[in-house]
Amino acid sequence: MANWIPLWLHRLSSPPTFYRFAGTLRPWAMGLAIVLGVIGLVGGLVLAPADYQQGDAYRIIFIHVPSAWMSMFIYAVMGVSAFIALVWRIKLAEVVAMESAPIGAAFTFITLVTGSLWGKPMWGTWWTWDARLTSELVLLFLYLGVLGLYHAFEDRRQGARAAGFLAIIGIINVPIVHFSVNWWNTLHQGSTVNIFGHSKMAWDMLWPLLTMTLATKFYYAASLFRRAQTDLLDLESGKDWVRKIAESEADR
């Protein structure tokens, strides 16, 4: 193991320690996700004014754009964890990579369907083979490919290794999704929000969008913690610490 990795990170990657750590943080992450989600939705659905061009249809943005950002963010987390798992053989990195895949796939699916529901009244079509939409669909297939490959092997660690390779190769698609609206002529509108520059959006609409973005980030953390905990129980089901959990929950 490389000695530049801090000791606490080393300890944290031990399954029982991470199980406790995730169990402590998960309720906070879920609580923040729900509170921020409620605030963001009230701001977006009730307080924000209607768009002067799109009327109330634009309100889909408050779930569509945060989900789209999450679809790319989670892919990046999955790719980096898969890389760490392949290079340093850290079991926890493997768990994080493989348990991120279903959450990422869920957000990608939401992005595609809500985008379709937004496209119909605005563009007059549910779907078009434009660069942004196509690359997002490829992202969904990458997630499904990672999940399929992972479950195709009898030995789960072997499956995780194969799926990890696919996850790493697929990272190339993330910048393609992001820059597709600049690189090609697309029907999809360009970026409205710019973190480092001036956003082309009124503050009344921007703050609910950013709040929803934070809410989805915390949701991902909560969901990942829960999934990683569950997966660690499966992975270590012969170990003493898992046995204790199984026995203590039998009484309930």
Binding site: G55, A57, I60, A106, T114, L117, S223, L233, R243, A246
Partner: protein, 67 residues
């Protein structure tokens, strides 16, 4: 039309806005429930395995492994 009706009408786009929000919540709720069910199944299977093991040990009067 009162304020609530106006809100639900979404300026005529209700048929697009509300299904989008419904899908968002359905997918995320499914994503939250799935690992809970898996956790319950894993622990139930483990308990069944432990029960079988201890029954076997009792039959052969071997003390259970102390690991």
């Amino acid at each position: 039309m009162n304020a609530l009706q106006t809100f639900f009408a979404m300026g005529g786009y209700a048929a697009y806005v509300w299904p989008a929000y419904a899908l968002f919540f359905i997918v995320l709720i499914a994503d939250t429930v799935a690992p809970r069910l898996r956790r319950r199944r894993i622990l139930a299977e483990l308990r069944a395995r432990l029960a079988r093991q201890s029954a076997r040990h009792e039959r052969h009067s071997i003390p259970p492994p102390s690991d």
